[in-house]
C-alpha cells in the first residue's frame, strides 16, 4: 500500500466558516491532516462533523456559503489557500478528483456517461476524445461494469445506482489523479450493491496507487477501505490512528460510544402459544402501480406487542406493502385484516376507528412535518380528530404525549419543526402517530436518515413505548443491524414477493434462503478483513452475480 512515503497532502490548522443567519460561523475548528501518496485515510463522524467540508477543502474548494478562514492546505508542495482560483481549478479533475454520495444526482441527466467521463481529460488535453473513450471502457471493465464497451453510451437514468457509482469512480480516474475524495460513495446503496462498489473502489485505488480520503459515517465500511482512520466531532478532530489500532483500542470516550452503538439489542419475544388473532393480517395481497405489478402474493401476520421487520433492497415492495395496509394503495387482489376483521381496500372507505388503528412514522422527518405548523398542532390535530379532545383536555393530552417521547412539554409545546434537531423531529413524528392511540404502527426506515447515536435513542424509545402501550410494529428497513436490535420476526422481501420469514433467531441462524444469506453476508462488519473474507467466499469474479440469482 503506502510504500511511497512522500507527503501528498498536508492540512494544518484548517478553519472553515459557514454563512448562516447573516453571520459567519466557524464550522471546522483547526483540523490537521497528513496524507502520503497511495495512502487511504478514512474520515468518520456524524452529520455536522465537517467531513465533506474538509474533503472539499482538500481540493481548495468551498461550497457556496462556506469559506476557508484559516490554516493551510498544501497539495504536493502547492499552498491552495493562497493560490488564485484559476490555478486551483486546473488541479480539480486532473490531479484531485471527487466521487459524490449520490451518483444518480451527480451525473448530468442530459449527457451520456462517457461524454461526462471524457470531459476532463479532453479539457486538460491529457487524452484525445477517442483515447479517453477507450480508456473509459477499460476502466469500466476493471470496475466490473457489465458491457463495458457499451454502458458508457447510456444516459444516467438508464443505469442502476450501483453501476452509476462505479461509473463515477471510473470518471474520477479518467485523468489518473494523485488523490480522490470519496464522499460517502456507498451510503445511498443497498448492502448487496454496496459490497460490489466497495470492492471495485478498493481494487482500482490499489491498482493505480491513488491516495484517497474516504468519508463515511459507517465504521464497518471505513474499516474495509482505510489505512488510517480519523474521527471527527463537530468540526474538531477526536483522534487518529491506523485502522487496526483504532478498531481494537480506541482511546477517546466519543470513539468508544461510536463503536458501542451496535450493541443495543432487546430480548426477542415470541408469538403467543395459543391461537390468538393477529392484530394485522396481510392475506395473499397483489398490488400494482398502473400496469406494473409490484406485489405478488404477499402474506404475513403481525401480533400484538410484537415487532415484525420487513427487509429487502430498494424496489423489493416493502413500502408498497405498507401502502396497501394503510389503504393508500388498494390491493388488486387479497385482503387486509385488522384483529380478524376485513378492512375496505381503500382508506376512503374505512371508518375513523379503522383508520385510527394503523399509524405511520416516516423516514424523512424533515419532509413529513409541516414546517409552518407548531408542534402543539402537529400532535394535537390527530388527538382532536380521533378522540374529540378540546381545550384544556387537548393540551393535557399533547403534554402527556411530549412526556412520552421524552421531550420537555413546556419547551417544545409552541415551537416549529425547523427549530428542532433531526432526532427531535423524528420523536415528534412518533408522538403524532401515538396521538391516534393506535394498536399498530408502521415505521418506514425511521432511523436511516439519522446518525447512529440518535438512531439508537429512537430505537430505545420505540422499544419502551411498545412495552408500555403494547404496540405492534411493522419495521421497514434495509439495515440489518436495526433488525438485529429490535425485531421479533423477520420478513425478507425481494421483487415484490416474500422470500423467507420467521422468528429473528431462526432467520439469523443458517441455513437460510440463498437471498437472505446474500443480504446477511453483505452487511459490513467491524473486521478490517471482512471484505476480503466475503469476496473470497463468494469468488471475486462473480461478485454481484449472486445478487441476481
Amino acid at each position: 500500500m503506502a510504500d511511497d512515503k512522500r507527503v501528498l497532502l498536508k492540512i494544518q490548522g484548517l478553519k472553515i466558516e459557514g454563512y448562516s443567519d447573516e453571520k459567519w460561523i466557524e464550522i471546522v475548528h483547526g483540523v490537521d491532516l497528513t496524507l502520503h501518496r497511495g495512502e487511504v485515510l478514512g474520515l468518520i463522524g456524524e452529520s455536522g462533523a465537517g467531513k465533506s467540508t474538509i474533503g472539499l477543502a482538500a481540493m481548495g474548494f468551498a461550497r457556496d456559503g462556506c469559506r476557508i478562514s484559516g490554516g493551510s492546505v498544501e497539495f504536493d508542495g502547492m499552498e491552495l489557500t493562497t493560490t488564485p482560483e484559476s490555478d486551483r481549478r486546473v488541479l480539480r479533475g486532473s490531479r484531485i478528483a471527487y466521487v459524490a454520495q449520490s451518483a444518480a444526482a451527480s451525473f448530468n441527466p442530459a449527457h451520456k456517461l462517457i461524454d461526462q467521463h471524457t470531459e476532463a481529460p479532453v479539457h486538460y488535453r491529457i487524452r484525445k476524445r477517442m483515447e479517453s473513450q477507450e480508456d473509459a471502457m477499460e476502466l469500466y471493465d476493471r470496475l466490473r461494469l457489465p458491457n463495458p464497451r457499451e454502458i458508457g453510451f447510456r444516459y444516467p437514468h438508464q443505469v442502476s445506482g450501483g453501476q452509476l457509482q462505479r461509473a463515477m469512480t471510473a470518471m474520477a480516474m479518467s485523468c489518473r489523479p494523485d488523490l480522490i475524495i470519496f464522499d460517502e460513495p456507498t451510503t445511498a446503496l443497498d448492502v448487496t450493491t454496496q459490497i460490489e462498489v466497495l470492492a471495485a473502489i478498493r481494487d482500482i485505488v490499489d491498482q493505480f496507487n491513488t491516495a484517497a480520503i474516504y468519508i463515511t459515517h459507517d465504521l464497518a465500511v471505513v474499516a474495509q477501505m482505510a489505512d488510517t482512520i480519523k474521527v471527527l466531532l463537530k468540526g474538531d478532530e477526536v483522534e487518529e490512528a491506523d485502522t487496526v489500532t483504532m478498531l481494537d483500542d480506541p482511546q477517546e470516550d466519543y470513539t468508544k460510544t461510536l463503536w458501542a452503538v451496535r450493541s443495543f439489542q432487546r430480548p426477542q419475544k415470541s408469538r403467543p402459544e395459543d391461537e390468538t388473532v393477529p392484530i394485522v393480517t396481510i392475506d395473499n395481497v397483489d398490488a400494482a402501480y398502473g400496469q406494473t405489478k409490484v406485489l405478488e402474493d404477499v402474506s404475513f401476520d403481525i401480533h400484538a406487542g410484537m415487532t415484525v421487520a420487513v427487509v429487502g433492497e430498494s424496489g423489493s415492495g416493502k413500502s408498497t406493502t405498507a401502502r396497501c395496509i394503510t389503504g393508500l394503495l388498494p390491493p388488486t387482489k387479497g385482503r387486509i385484516l385488522f384483529s380478524g376483521e376485513e378492512l375496505p381496500a381503500s382508506f376512503r372507505a374505512r371508518s375513523k376507528d379503522q383508520l385510527r388503528q394503523a399509524q405511520m412514522i416516516y423516514q424523512m422527518a424533515d419532509t413529513a412535518l409541516n414546517p409552518k405548523v407548531r408542534i402543539s398542532d402537529i400532535i394535537g390535530r390527530p388527538a382532536e380528530f380521533y378522540s374529540g379532545l378540546k381545550g384544556a383536555q387537548l393540551k393535557n393530552r399533547v403534554d402527556e404525549l411530549l412526556d412520552l417521547i421524552e421531550l420537555e412539554p413546556s419547551k417544545f409545546y409552541s415551537r416549529y419543526p425547523p427549530e428542532l434537531s433531526g432526532g427531535q423531529k423524528q420523536r415528534i413524528g412518533i408522538a403524532r402517530a401515538l396521538a391516534a392511540e393506535p394498536s399498530f404502527i408502521i415505521c418506514d426506515e425511521v432511523t436511516s436518515a439519522l446518525d447512529q447515536l440518535v438512531a439508537e435513542g429512537i430505537l430505545r424509545l420505540l422499544d419502551r413505548l411498545q412495552e408500555e402501550l403494547d404496540l405492534a410494529y411493522m419495521f421497514i428497513t434495509h439495515d440489518l443491524a436495526t433488525v438485529r436490535s429490535i425485531a421479533d420476526e423477520v420478513v425478507v422481501m425481494k421483487e415484490g414477493r416474500v422470500v423467507e420469514m420467521g422468528p429473528k433467531d431462526v432467520m439469523f441462524t443458517p441455513p437460510h434462503h440463498p437471498y437472505t444469506d446474500l443480504l446477511l453476508s453483505s452487511v459490513p462488519e467491524m473486521d478490517p478483513n471482512w471484505l476480503n473474507t466475503v469476496l473470497e467466499e463468494r469468488g471475486v469474479d462473480n461478485i454481484g452475480e449472486a445478487a441476481r440469482t
Binding site: G93, A97, A110, E119
Partner: protein, 318 residues
C-alpha cells in the same frame, strides 16, 4: 421513440379540441350581442323590412347550431365568409395582413430570442455583479414601458433626430428585402424591447435554479470552467422553462401588436381587427379571433413538444 410520438399525438388532439371549444366561444360571443348582426349593421333606423331582407341574405333565419356548423366547416377549408362592409372574401382581406404580421413577428423574434437567451446566460454567469443589475434594470424598464411610448421614443431618436430609420412602416409591393427590413426596423425593435426582458429573466432564473444541483457541483469539481458549467451542464437541463416562455412571447408578438402597428402605421392584422371591431364587421372579427387562438395553441403546443424533446428520459427510454 414510441413514447414521444404518443405524447405529441395526444397533445395535438388536445390542441384541436381546445380550438374547437374556443370556436364555440367566439361564435357564441357574437350570438350574445343584444339584437342580432343585422340589427347591429343597420343600426337603430332600420325598418322591419330591411332587417328581414338582410337576415335572409346573411342566413340569420337559420338556427344558431346550423349557422355555427356552417361557419366552422367553412373556416376549416379557409372560407370565413364575406366581409359585411366590403362584401369581399374575409380570407382575401386577412391573408396579406396576417402575412405582414407574421413577417414583423418573425423579424422581432429573430433578434429577440437569441439576444434574450445569450443575455440570460451572461447574467447567470455574472450573477449579482454590476452587469447583472444593469441588465435587469434596463430590461425591466423596457418591459414596464407601454409599447406606444417605446415606439415614440424610438421614433424621436432614430428618425426625427438622426434620420437613421423611417418613422412610418408603410409597405408597398416594389420594396426590396433590404428596404423592407430597414422600413420595419423600428416597429420590430419596439417589440424586441418589450419581449426580451421576460425571456432573459426566465433564462437566468432557470439556469441559476440548477446551479445548486449536485451535478453542477460535480462539473465544478472536475475543473470545468465557469462558462462551460453553464453552457454545457446547466443550459441543457434548463430548456423546458425557457422554451415555454419563448413560445408565450412569440404568441404575444403575433397577437399583441395592435399598438405598435398603430404607432408605425403598419398594415398588420391588429389594425384590421381594430377596424373591424369599430365597424362591426363580425365575420372579420370572428376570423381574426380564431386565427389568434390557433396561433396561441400552436405555439404552446410547439413549446410542450420542445420541452418534451429536451427531456433525456423521454428521448431515451430505459
Amino acid at each position: 421513440m414510441g413514447d414521444v410520438t404518443r405524447i405529441i399525438i395526444t397533445r395535438l388532439g388536445l390542441g384541436v379540441l381546445t380550438l374547437l371549444v374556443i370556436s364555440v366561444l367566439i361564435f357564441g360571443a357574437v350570438e350574445l350581442l343584444p339584437g342580432d348582426i343585422a340589427q347591429a349593421v343597420l343600426g337603430q333606423g332600420a325598418t322591419e323590412e330591411n332587417l328581414r331582407a338582410l337576415r335572409t341574405e346573411l342566413g340569420l333565419d337559420r338556427s344558431a347550431p346550423v349557422r355555427y356548423f356552417d361557419w366552422l366547416t367553412g373556416a376549416i377549408v379557409g372560407d370565413f365568409g364575406n366581409s359585411l362592409l366590403t362584401q369581399s372574401s374575409v380570407t382575401d382581406t386577412i391573408a396579406p395582413r396576417f402575412a405582414n404580421t407574421l413577417f414583423l413577428a418573425a423579424y422581432a423574434a429573430v433578434i429577440a430570442v437569441p439576444v434574450a437567451i445569450i443575455l440570460g446566460i451572461i447574467v447567470a454567469l455574472l450573477r449579482n455583479t454590476l452587469f447583472d443589475r444593469v441588465a435587469n434594470v434596463a430590461t425591466l424598464t423596457s418591459i414596464s414601458s407601454p409599447e406606444f411610448f417605446l415606439g415614440y421614443i424610438l421614433i424621436l431618436y432614430f428618425s426625427v433626430k438622426t434620420g437613421m430609420f423611417p418613422a412610418i412602416a408603410k409597405l408597398s409591393d416594389d420594396l426590396t428585402f433590404i428596404e423592407l427590413l430597414e422600413r420595419t426596423f423600428l416597429p420590430a425593435l419596439t417589440m424586441v424591447l418589450v419581449v426580451v426582458a421576460h425571456m432573459m429573466r426566465m433564462t437566468r432564473a432557470a439556469i441559476i435554479n440548477l446551479l445548486a444541483s449536485p451535478y453542477i457541483e460535480m462539473a465544478r469539481l472536475k475543473g470545468t470552467p465557469a462558462w462551460k458549467v453553464i453552457a454545457r451542464h446547466a443550459l441543457p437541463n434548463a430548456w423546458a422553462p425557457i422554451i415555454n416562455v419563448v413560445a408565450l412571447n412569440l404568441a404575444y408578438l403575433i397577437t399583441g401588436v395592435v399598438l405598435v402597428e398603430v404607432v408605425f402605421v403598419y398594415p398588420g392584422i391588429g389594425q384590421l381587427l381594430v377596424d373591424a371591431v369599430t365597424k362591426r364587421d363580425f365575420p372579420v372579427v370572428q376570423a381574426c379571433c380564431l386565427i389568434f387562438a390557433a396561433t396561441f395553441i400552436l405555439l404552446n403546443l410547439a413549446a410542450d413538444v420542445g420541452a418534451i424533446l429536451t427531456n433525456p428520459r423521454l428521448r431515451h427510454p430505459k
